[in-house]
Subunit: 227 residues, 2 copies
Amino acid sequence: MSWPFAVDDTPDAVVDEEAAVWRPFTHSVRELIDACVQSAVDLDEVRAAQADVDAAVARLNKARMAATLGQAHSPSGRRRPWGNPVIGLRNPIAPPLEVHSDPSGRAECDFHCGAAYEGPPGLVHGGVVSLILDQVLGHAVGATGRPGMTGTLTIVYRKGTPLGDLRIEAQVDRRDDVKTWASARIIGPDGVTAEAEGVFLLPRAIRERLAQAEAEGISLPMPEILE
Amino acid sequence: MSWPFAVDDTPDAVVDEEAAVWRPFTHSVRELIDACVQSAVDLDEVRAAQADVDAAVARLNKARMAATLGQAHSPSGRRRPWGNPVIGLRNPIAPPLEVHSDPSGRAECDFHCGAAYEGPPGLVHGGVVSLILDQVLGHAVGATGRPGMTGTLTIVYRKGTPLGDLRIEAQVDRRDDVKTWASARIIGPDGVTAEAEGVFLLPRAIRERLAQAEAEGISLPMPEILE
């Protein structure tokens, strides 16, 4: 695994141009996912729609990256977690969340979970709840300048999380040299539905690099999230 | 929330016919998601592909269900968790997993996580790991005849879970009247990558219904999973 230390040297104009095409494309695929779980058309219509989808797949697969987006974008990881399944601009699985964080170790986000994230009838799948909590905990931790990989994650489900508009808040509680403890909660229309505590570990590679940079008196660009 | 007690009265032939169309359609959408995070075509090709996707969306949205799949299929929940984001036949977000379980409270599954599930470069997102653990823990619990909703879930990440072919195993450890304790692990090419413990709660509505059925000496059809 290589960690994203390098500064992104892709010109802003190129990143913006790519985003301007991939963002609406991915939005369309999200609409397709929603339609897949919500459509009530007859089966012939589904067959016809499949021909459209297969045509799109054939177009996109004319050329494929040798590595995953996470690997390809590592050098530019600071601002292009495009493949991330919670926040990724280019990942249709992501709702997506647009997380706001600050260096004090707080992160928050208003987001929406539609029918594709359903577990029990009308409720967000408990595992999707944990997926989102894990991601936003990671943002809170990374915002302090010491990003971490999840070591342990504990979720307490207070009540069902209804599909629809939701909010998540996370903050760093304390840290030592290697570990950072953070907590988060998901809030629905009727209050907190689930709470999480996570312990995040600063990978050794980053730890050593930070120590070296400190000794040399230089400042390292650091990705906010490692996942 | 209504719980799926009723026997599915949709004729098998109809369910089979729907599955025969929706399964390959959803597979195509999964390929589209994969292409979305892996394609290296130029931006004009992406724009052209979007027209195809939008055409498919327009077809499917000619008629939409009034409720979600989870709500619509509640009466037939025993065999149609089609909207589930981990196992759903009609949910493109699902890898999908095909979970095998037995009444002793064991569940297992070999599955595959591609690029769309990536967190750190080359690794499965830690939250996706928790999503899958939560789902399969639920199967182990439900296989005993007393399905549960997740109360608490604790994940310990031993090491990164590589993208690719993986395995998950879960089993019920113990239970009382209301709670069931279960544990699970994800296994990669180099051994266990993550472990989970979950406490699952039998919802009161189901508990009361089971007690009533027992008093009346009848047997209730019970869904294996509530999520």
